[in-house]
């Protein structure tokens, strides 16, 4: 692999159990800095589960148990010395269904910086909010409605608001779980553009059901099947000459 690429996050033999049911069977996978890594695979193969391991959202699921290691830079995030609140401020998340708080657009974006004390003054907070909305490509559309309800936006705008909200905490990594699955093609295209932009400053991991989307936005692709990682590599390679037959079949739509 290209030597100038540095590893941002690394899963090492990650296993996840939901009660007695094992969802992930030892995943070892590296996430490269300032790249978009797509997680693909048929439904129920554990993509979301793996994604949730990266910011410990599995902690919130009752009965979920994670073993193995996940490193952020060189730190093991399952090591007790790293607080989960700090971890989540460094590894943000965007969910499948847009989930803005039932508050104003401004309050949605300002919430993260506020709880982490990132702004020392109102002015600074205003600036963070504006910048985050700009980066999420939403600012121009809503700049005179900042104090209207975030839930009143269209689906695509809501999802970009959620991205802005995640960006506002200045994370290093952004996790996205099928961020476009509830959106129409135009909104999807905008988000895809946005992801490509964000790559310059953030490391992105995206779960997607759409092969085209994976091909369009990602530099690396990981193919999951039944809780195992069956193939990982540069997106181009995976889509043109996969080593695994199952990958080939999935990409060409023969199963999934």
């Amino acid at each position: 692999m290209n030597p100038e690429l540095s590893i941002k996050m690394r899963g090492l033999d990650v296993k996840v159990f939901y009660d007695s049911n094992q969802a992930l069977h030892g995943i070892t996978l590296s996430i490269l800095e300032n790249n978009v890594t797509a997680l693909i695979g048929p439904s129920g193969c554990g993509k979301s589960t793996f994604l949730r391991c990266l910011n410990r959202m599995n902690d919130t699921i009752e009965g979920a148990r994670v073993t193995g290691h996940v490193f952020l830079d060189e730190e093991d995030i399952y090591d007790s010395s790293l607080d989960v609140v700090e971890l989540r401020s460094r590894v943000g998340m965007v969910f499948q269904k847009p989930n803005p708080f039932p508050k104003s657009i401004y309050e949605n974006v300002a919430y993260g910086p506020r709880i982490h004390g990132l702004a020392r003054s109102r002015l600074e907070l205003d600036e963070i909010v504006e910048k985050s909305l700009l980066k999420a490509g939403l600012f121009n559309e809503i700049k005179d409605r900042l104090h209207d309800a975030g839930t009143g936006l269209s689906g695509g705008q809501q999802q970009r608001l959620c991205i802005a909200r995640a960006i506002a905490v200045s994370p290093e990594v952004i996790l996205m779980d099928e961020p476009c699955s509830a959106l129409d093609p135009i909104a999807t295209a905008r988000i895809e553009e946005l992801i490509d932009d964000l790559r310059k400053n953030y490391t992105i991991v995206i779960v997607t059901h759409s092969m085209q989307q994976a091909a369009r936005v990602s530099q690396f692709t990981a193919m999951f099947h039944l809780g195992t990682l069956i193939e990982f590599g540069a997106t181009e390679t995976i889509f043109t000459s996969p080593k695994e037959q199952r990958t080939q079949d999935y990409i060409t739509g023969r199963f999934g």
Binding site: R88, N99, P102, Y111, I115, H116, G150, R165, A166, V169
Partner: protein, 428 residues
């Protein structure tokens, strides 16, 4: 042929018939409910509204110094003013209006029976406060006796023979005369909301009961809202699911279903016998009602918390909010309308509760206003219960009037619940 084929038999007719049947069932059920509600409201209002007015006598009374203080000793002995014969002043004043001779003792007795027993004390209180009025004439309004009130409101069958009536024919004649002269008339019955318990209907009111109910509602709100909400938040958001929390859950649900009289028994044993709190006090009543209300609040709060979309929690947690920040900054604010509705409905339930209060001795004849929640008091529903046991027409009227008051409070609380819910929901 081909036209026939276009129509498939998908049992459309049956489906529409089933729908129409269900709709008519629903309509029937609702009409039945509305009908009974109207019957209830009609019977309560038709019998109770009259108690909002009370028959009074307005006449000018001569505060004759010769009767109040025949020996002229009041300068040295102020006691004299307190024990003077005020009913005689009233009697003389009315006799004068009616043209009854002051020597006709039989008629004079009937004249004095036209006044409420409380009229004399009313006059006494006035004179004790303003001794300078002695010797003057004052135009004053006094309560009429309850028989006069009932007859004046047309609630008494006058065709029965005179001996079986409380009022003689002579008194009835007088009433006609007085009504014609405007001396006998109806006034708004402020006393109904102020007076305490009395064996005379015209002088009894909801005063003590309203104060008692107010104290109790205050105690219930103060105790059950924080405890109930805290318990619900802990159980719903923090406690894991295990045997122990399952047990607590089952117990809370059972607690909500325990017959209220059992809570009264519990209150009697724990608060009165064991803790030694004063019997009949609104403090004990409030605590007993708290016990009853807070399972309701816990259940309402928990379902309100559960109704908050999990995606909101995930959003907050995903941003790095702590558990407590997530709960207090996102989940609880969204649950507030539900919590408030549950609380107000619980309070409304407590306001109408009677059985447990009977057991802790709140069914008492309380003549003094309770100054603190430690003093003996009654509650509005208990007062209704007590009045309902009285046979006199004036008490029947008061029973229904108290029901109207209680229903109005309940309606107000329910309206408040709706308004509060709308207000909090309107924030996005």
């Amino acid at each position: 042929m081909s036209k026939l084929l276009k129509h498939r038999d998908i049992r459309l007719k049956q489906r529409y018939r089933a729908e129409a049947f269900f709709r008519s069932c629903g309509l029937f059920a609702i009409s039945l409910g509305v009908f009974f509600l109207l019957v209830l409201l009609y019977s309560v209002f038709s019998q109770g509204v009259s108690a909002f007015w009370q028959t009074s006598l307005t006449l000018s009374v001569k505060l004759d110094a010769k009767i109040i203080d025949p020996e002229g000793r009041r300068a040295n002995d102020p006691q004299i003013i307190c024990i003077a014969d005020y009913p005689r002043l009233l009697r003389n004043a009315l006799a004068e209006e009616l043209g009854v001779s002051l020597d006709d003792l039989v008629s004079l007795r009937e004249v004095s029976r036209m006044f409420s027993f409380g009229a004399g004390s009313q006059l006494r209180d006035l004179v004790v406060k303003n001794p300078q009025l002695i010797g003057t004439s004052q135009k004053l309004t006094f309560l009429a006796a309850s028989h006069v009130d009932s007859v004046f409101k047309g609630q008494v069958n006058l065709s029965v023979s005179e001996t079986k009536r409380k009022l003689s024919n002579k008194q009835l004649e007088w009433m006609k005369k007085l009504a014609y002269e405007g001396i006998l008339h109806k006034t708004f019955n402020f006393g109904f909301f102020i007076f305490s318990a009395s064996s005379r209907p015209e002088m009894s009111g909801l005063g003590v009961a309203l104060i008692g109910s107010f104290y109790m509602m205050f105690i219930v709100l103060l105790c059950s809202l924080p405890i109930g909400v805290a318990a619900a938040v802990y159980l719903e958001e923090y406690a894991g699911r295990n045997r122990f929390t399952d047990l607590i859950e089952v117990n809370i649900n059972n607690l909500a279903a325990v017959p209220s009289i059992i809570f009264g028994l519990l209150g009697l044993v724990v608060f009165i016998h064991f803790l030694g709190l004063p019997r009949s006090s609104s403090l004990v009543g409030g605590l007993v009602l708290t016990l009853m209300t807070f399972p309701t609040i816990i259940i309402a709060t928990r379902s309100a918390l559960r109704a908050v979309s999990p995606s909101i929690r995930l959003a907050a947690l995903g941003l790095g909010a702590s558990k407590t920040q997530t709960v207090f900054q996102h989940v609880i604010p969204l649950a507030i309308p539900g919590i408030l509705t549950g609380t107000i409905l619980g309070l409304a339930h407590a306001l109408g509760e009677t059985a447990p209060l009977l057991l802790i001795g709140m069914v008492a004849f309380v003549a003094n206003y309770p100054v603190s929640p430690m003093d003996p008091a009654t509650a509005v529903p208990v007062q209704i219960y007590m009045w309902a046991n009285e046979a006199e027409r004036a008490f029947v009227e008061r029973t229904f009037c108290a029901i109207i008051v209680l229903l109005m409070f309940l309606a107000l609380m329910n309206i408040a619940a709706v308004l509060l819910r709308n207000r909090f929901e309107r924030r996005f």
